[in-house]
Structures are given as structure tokens and as C-alpha cells.
Amino acid sequence: MSYISNTANQSQEMLAACGLSAMEDLFQDIPARLKPQSFNLPEAMSELEVHRHLKRMAGKNATNLTCFLGGGYYEHFIPAAVDAATMRSEFYTAYTPYQPEISQGTLQAVYEYQTQVCRLTSMDVSNASLYDGSTALYEACQMALNATGRARIIVDGGVNPIYCKILESYMANHAEIKLTKIPAAPGQAQRDKIKAALCDETAVLVLQNPNFFGTVDDHSDLVEKCHKRSVLVIQLVYPIAMALLKTPGELGVDIAIGEGQSLGIPLSFGGPYLGFLAATKNLVRKMPGRLVGRTVDRNGKECFVLTLQAREQHIRRDKAISNICTNQALCALRAHVYMSLMGREGLRELAGICHARAEFAKERFKQIPGVLVLENAPTFNEFTLQLPKKADAVVGELVQRGIVPGLPLGRFYPEMENYLLVAVTEMRTKAEICKLAESLESVL
């Protein structure tokens, strides 16, 4: 199946107009010694064949699982209108709105998205999106290093370990940047360890709420401590939880970031996702990525345009504050449509349902002999269980029965091989929670 419009006759006419007779003539700049040594690819497939082929491949993936996996990536219901609105091809076949006169749709949508993120996090300014939450952490750290002129990053033990790994691999190229990792432990941020780690070269402290273990915290004391020493604070947040929890803005955090996948973006086997980043007003010129501003046109009519582009790679080249060019505009649009549908009350109610079901699950799992629910502090919709045996073994067994009970933590923390991280969203019914409890009882 080819998507070329021109017929053979038209191609010949066009070649003639160029003074050429054959397609090969167009490639004369490529010398014979550089011609492909091989180009061994399959023959074309019709649309029907390719659809059948891919449906067969999709069928090899498990879709009927009862899944309690989270770890920063959550299965939430996506209203049909999210797809209907974002699959309009005026959106998905457009590019970056470089020509504002014919891109007001994108530009206004981004401005509105920036507003949604600011309202969710109580921050001053949001950018137009970044690749995902983990790369947003890297960009936020760059911002903080840049703004403070200092070299050390302190990462709390409650920060998602995958995010830490990504930060470490980028930092490997910058010997001048130093990373202090507070050891991980379920529960709230370990104040004493963080305070001991703070020093004059600290640029930024990275916190997460709820943290990777599901624990909810109030970081205001840490923010205050950091600001006294002119240390910036990055807080990584779960957007659905933001409908209920104290916001980064309320806490006085400098940069709020997060993974926007929960806002109407399917789990998609890891991507594309959505990184959001919002900051205080004074950091706006240090922000990476696109930014849309409201202005007026020549006739004084309100309109929207990409702005502060002097920060960006295509203008500043090697002096740019980030190399990011492509972002996640369509994913940000999904999040925007999702938040518009949920609305002020809907998102709060949804967060309440997730929390209530998770609390029900905690109570139920407490009744299982040998199982410990780690709860020295409140949790939102995810919590850590200590099992009487290796979580890997339990998960391995239950997966065979179509139940994924959660994420075994030994993979990230060798000392936690009996720990299981369980997430409950609105997708999991009471019956499914009870079924998981019974299954756990049967294998423990």
C-alpha cells in the first residue's frame, strides 16, 4: 500500500520539467560506492493484511488481567470524548504552531492546558509539556542548577526509582554535578537524613508526594528549611491526587513536575506519556520547552503565540537551556480535554473513589495472616504491603491466574524483596479487591 498520489504519467511529466528522464537521475549525487549494500525488506502488505497481522500480534498481549500495578503509571478510565476531541485531524496532523494565524486552535489549547496545570498545582507558570515525568525531573534539575549556580542535587528516598535511574544516566556525563540519594524506606520523607545532607553547595532538593511507596506527606517544613539556605525544591506529584492533596504551590515549592499519563492517556506500554512542569514566576526564563502567551494581533484582537523563544534550541543553539524541540502537544491536549470533562468536582470525586477503594483494600489485606500494611502515615491510592514471603514468588504465581497483585519492590530495592506496592484506581471494583485478597490468602 503506497500513499503516493501522482500517476506514472504525472511523474514522467515532472521529470521532463526537470530535464530528467528517470527517477534514478534524481540520485546522481549519491556515488555508486555509497549505494546500499543491502535493502532486504518485506514486500508491501494491503491495509487488510497489515490490520490482520497487527491484530494477531496485539492478541499475544494479555488484556484480561485484573491489575493492581501502579508505580507512577496508573490505569484510569478514559471518557470517549477524549479520543473524539483529540483525534480530530486538524490537531493530530498539525505541527508546532510556528504560524500563529492558522494555529490558534493549538495555541489556545496550550494556553488553557498551562492554566489547568497551574490550577491543579497552584503554581505560577506551566510550560507546554515535556516528554514524560522522568525527563521532566532531569529538566527541572537543570533549571535549578542553572538558577542557583550550585552543583548538588539531593533526591529523597521516596522519589520513583526509575526517575532516579534516568537522572543518574544523564548526570553521568556531567562530573561537575553531584547527586546525594537519601536511602529509600516506606513512609514519609526522612527529615533527619535530608537535613543532614543539606549543605552550601546544594542547589535543589527533590521530593515526591505521594511518594513512590504511596505515602502522603506535608513537606512544608522541608521547603522552609531549604529556602532558608537558598536551596530550591522540586516536588514530583501525581495529578489525580492533586485534586485532594496540599499542592506544591501551597507548600511554597519552586518547581512542580509530574507524569501526566493518568490524565486521559492510555498506559500504552510505556509511552507516549506527558511530562508537566510548572514553576514560580521568577523561574520562567529558566524553563525548558515551549511556552504560549496571550497577546493581541495587529487589530488589537486577543490571540495566542509561542513566546520567550530566546530560551530555545532553534534560536540559541549551543547556549539554549535545553535541547528539547518536539514535545508532547497531543498528549497535553488529551490531558486538557480530560481535565475539562472531569471538571472541578469530577476530579475531586474521582480522587475520592480511588482513595476509598484503596482504603477498603488496606483494611481487607490487614486480615490476611502474615501480611503487614505499612501505614505510619496516610496514603492516597497506593500502599506498600510486607508479605511473609518473596513478593516475586507471589506475583509469579498470581500472574498465572490472571491477577497482577502489584509491583514487587525487590527489583528496585534488594532489601525489600518481601514488599509489594499495590495501586487501586476507580477501575478496580470491590469484587476484584476481594478476589485479590482471597488469592493472596491462597498462596501465602
Binding site: H174, G271, N299, R344
Partner: protein, 489 residues
């Protein structure tokens, strides 16, 4: 048009939620001190309100499905609809990325792992490279990954002096920022004004023991293929430097040139350009990185391997790897569409795609070079760069021409890039456009060239047929109005 928040009506709802079952306590079990003081002021709308709002916004946009979009360097080709249909399959879209990392988990995602393995294999054959990772999330992210690989390679050999990356001034805008992002210092290599290609004599004078690598774009941003690329590679290798190939322009050379055959060490491919995945108002993209044998051991983790029993698994045991560059396996649903595209076109279809892309560009260039200055008057590949220097004498600049094209129903080409051409107009028609469309565009460009002589002021006023005229960008930067404030602020 009203901003969505201004349409909000208190108490209106746009989504229904499930009820809690009897026996589940709705009471919040989180102390008040952890809770936000006020609810987030998201808009309150019905589903119909939301659909009308976004439909109206979409009417203020222009995509490839709306009309001709010859945005140079961006490869705005048609996005086949079958790709969207496949990406929506629950067996792909619904998969949790942690599944294959669980014990017994890889059996739950064999189809997805197979897509990764097969697409990596196809991209290796297309590029002539030894191995591929689909992890990078966009082209610039691929550059960052590729630069990290070069850094790791030199570290692995104790080449501590190698700190410089040489970048031709005709290369892509992201290249210098990507090299700097990995801790390199960049130096621009000039373009030979006669050939429009990298000045190899200048390069010879610049390359030395501090050179870690060279970043090449071929064909370059002028749409010119550098037939000496193998000599550049040889020169780099003789100094222990590696060569990065920016694959942003791969749509010009499918089946006609493979970077691997020229001994390129590392490259990225923009799937949202060459392999037709939608640009989505600016993303998401996907920027797989392909490498030669010498860099395979440094590729990011995890990697997908095919086992002896023909099943697929994730391999994290890569001691020399640069580590994680993305949380999981890249933009899966994006590269899935590229996989569908490659299977649909097949070998011959891919070859023809490049042929028609190059033919369309040459046709446009030949038809327009009488009316606009063509700084490098030679055969082009998939794109070419005109200059509005003739028109500028009448006070009509590249930007005016761009806006006048909008009035005539076209998305403008890229303007003022590449920086090495004054008043640049960079045109990339892609293979999917028909002769009729190209002829209409030629007609419009000719009319604009004529108007530049007869009535230049009319072009300075463009666009006049759009919902807004040119925005005040100074006011935007000064006003710093990035979001709608709350009323109580």
C-alpha cells in the same frame, strides 16, 4: 472565541463516575493538614460543551489533512489512518509497562516485545546499522542519547581529552544544544559557499585530538547530498573521533543511501518525519537511535532479545550501558504506527516514497527558481532553500511571503532557516502531494513574486483571510500572560 474557563457554569458535569459499592467507606482517611485548601478551579462543563469547544479550536488549526504543508525540515507527509486504528487496539494501548518486568511477565506482552524486536530489525536494515534502540522519545532526545553513547565510548577508552563536537553550520538547530547537554563543547564547521556542503578543507584544519565527534546531516538542511560523506567519516575515524548522523532527512534517501554503509557510528531517525507518524501539534515524536558494532554495548537498557525458543524477553544485563534514557521502551504507540507504515509500504514502497519526495522537491525548485533566488542552484534532494532576497529589495520579506501563502490556502514553508541563507524559504513538499497541489502552490508563489513587484504593501499586510492577523510578539514576551489568573488574585 472564549477561553474554556470562561464557559464554566457552576455545578455542570462532563463525566460520570462509578458509585462506591456498599461496604466501602467514602470518608477521606487523610488528615486535613495534608489536604489542599480549595478545590482546583477546573472548568465545569457538559460533554457537549467540551466537544463544541475543541471542535471550534480545531477549526482554527491547519494540519496535513487540511492542505499542503511544505514545512521544510519537518517532513509533513500524509499520516495513514490504518496506523491510528492499530494503535488504538486494546492489546497495545492498554498494556502496563511494568508487565514484562514482572516474574513470568514477559509472556503477557509477547506481541508488544515482538513489535519492538521486529521494528528494530527493520530500522537496522533500512539504515545499514548494526543495532537499534527505540527508547529515545523524540529526535532531539535521540541526539542526546547518541551523544551520550559517544561520551561513554570515549570514557570507556580513557580518551579524556576528547571534549569537542564539530557541527556543520548547515546542520539542524537541535544539534549544538544536544552536544552541550552531554557536556561537550561545540564548534561550527563552515559550509563551502560554492557547493552548499560542509567545507572539508576547513574541517581538516579544525579536527584534532580533542575532537570527540562530528555531527552530520546528509542531505543537509539545504537539501544537498554530501557525496564525500565517506571521506568525512574516514577523516574523523583517523583522529579517533566518531561520526553522528542526524537522520532527520532520511526521507530523501530510503533505499538510495544507508548511513551504515558509509561507516557512520551512530544516528537517530525521526519516525514522525520519515515514517509518517503524526506530528500532533508538536509531539509526541519518536527518535530511535541506531549504532555500528563499536557502540552496541553502550546502548540504553533495557534491550529486547529473541530467545532460542523464538520468544522475546527484556535484557537488563548490559554492564557498559549508558543506563536508562526513558522510563520504559520509548514512545511505543508512536513507533507502532511507524511499524505499520513500513509493513504497509514494503521495500518497493519505501524506495518510491523517497523517489517521489525528491522528484516533488526538484519539480517545485525548477518551477520557482525563475521567480525567487536559488542560492544553491543544483539538483536537490527532498527539500530546497529559496531566498526572498530579490523580494526583500521591495520590502517584502520571507515572513511576508509566508503570510501571503496562508491567505492563499497553504501552510507556509519554514522561513529564516537554515541560518546560512538570508531570507531563507525552506520547502519540503514530501512524496504524498500530487502534481495538482504542487502546481497550485507554484501558481501562488508566482502571484506573490509578482505582487512583490507591483504591490508590496499588500503582502506586508498579509494574512487578511485568517481569524487573526499577525500577533504582537513583543507584547507577548513583555506581558508574560501564560495562564488565566484566578478571579481572587
Amino acid at each position: 472565541m472564549k477561553i474554556i474557563f470562561d464557559k464554566s457554569i457552576q455545578g455542570r458535569r462532563g463525566a460520570t463516575l462509578p458509585q462506591l459499592e456498599p461496604g466501602i467507606d467514602a470518608q477521606l482517611k487523610i488528615d486535613k493538614r495534608y489536604l489542599r485548601a480549595q478545590p482546583a478551579e477546573l472548568p465545569e462543563l457538559s460533554e457537549l460543551d467540551v466537544m463544541r469547544h475543541f471542535t471550534e479550536l480545531s477549526n482554527r488549526n491547519f494540519g496535513v489533512d487540511s492542505g499542503f504543508y511544505p514545512l521544510g525540515s519537518c517532513t509533513m507527509k500524509y499520516n495513514p489512518k490504518i496506523c491510528e486504528k492499530v494503535a488504538a487496539l486494546e492489546g497495545f494501548a492498554g498494556l502496563h509497562p511494568f508487565l514484562p518486568q514482572l516474574p513470568q511477565g514477559s509472556q503477557l506482552t509477547q506481541g508488544a516485545l515482538e513489535v519492538i524486536y521486529e521494528l528494530e530489525t527493520l530500522l537496522c536494515e533500512i539504515s545499514g546499522m548494526a543495532a537499534c534502540t527505540l527508547q529515545p522519545l523524540a529526535g532531539a532526545h535521540g541526539e542526546l542519547c547518541g551523544m551520550s553513547l559517544i561520551a561513554a565510548y570515549h570514557r570507556g577508552r580513557g580518551n579524556t581529552d576528547k571534549k569537542e563536537i564539530l557541527i556543520p553550520d548547515e546542520a539542524h538547530g537541535t544539534n549544538p544544544a544536544s552536544a552541550v547537554g552531554v557536556g561537550f563543547v561545540t564548534k561550527p564547521v563552515p559550509t563551502d559557499p560554492k557547493t552548499g556542503r560542509l567545507d572539508i578543507t576547513a574541517l581538516k584544519g579544525m579536527i584534532n585530538d580533542h575532537t570527540a565527534g562530528i555531527m552530520l546531516t546528509n542531505p543537509n538542511t539545504l537539501g544537498i547530498f554530501n557525496s564525500e560523506i565517506d571521506q568525512v567519516v574516514e577523516l574523523a575515524h583517523s583522529h579517533g573521533a566518531l561520526v553522528y548522523y542526524d537522520g532527520a532527512n532520511l526521507n530523501a534517501v530510503l533505499g538510495a543511501f544507508r548511513p551504515g554503509d558509509a561507516d557512520i557510528d551512530v544516528m537517530h531517525i525521526n519516525l514522525h518525519k520519515t515514517f509518517a507518524t503524526p506530528h500532533g501539534c508538536g509531539g509526541p515524536g519518536s527518535g530511535p537511535v541506531c549504532v555500528r558494532e563499536n557502540l552496541v554495548e553502550y546502548l540504553p537498557i533495557s534491550r529486547v532479545v529473541k530467545k532460542q525458543d523464538n520468544t522475546f524477553a527484556l535484557d537488563y544485563n548490559q554492564p557498559k550501558s549508558i543506563g536508562y534514557t526513558a522510563p520504559f521502551y520509548g514512545s511505543f504507540l508512536v513507533y507502532l504506527k511507524a511499524y505499520v507504515y513500513i509493513l504497509s509500504l514494503g521495500k518497493q514502497g519505501l524506495i518510491e516514497a523517497s523517489q517521489h519526495a525528491v522528484l516533488n522537491a526538484n519539480y517545485l525548485m525548477n518551477m520557482l527558481k525563475g521567480d525567487y533566488e536559488l542560492p544553491y542552484d543544483r539538483r536537490c534532494m527532498h527539500e530546497f532553500v529559496l531566498s526572498a532576497s530579490k523580494q526583500a529589495k521591495q520590502g517584502v520579506h520571507a515572513l511576508d511571503i509566508a503570510k501571503a501563502l496562508i491567505d492563499r490556502g497553504f501552510h507556509p514553508p519554514t522561513v529564516y532557516f537554515p541560518l546560512i541563507v538570508k531570507e531563507a524559504i525552506m520547502i519540503e513538499p514530501t512524496e504524498t502531494e500530487s502534481k495538482e497541489t504542487l502546481d497550485a502552490f507554484i501558481q501562488a508563489m508566482k502571484e506573490i513574486a509578482a505582487a512583490a513587484q507591483s504591490d508590496p504593501k499588500s503582502l506586508n499586510a498579509a494574512p487578511v483571510n485568517t481569524r487573526i492577523s499577525r500577533p504582537d510578539e513583543v507584547q507577548a514576551a513583555r506581558g508574560m500572560d501564560f495562564n488565566l489568573g484566578l478571579q481572587n488574585e
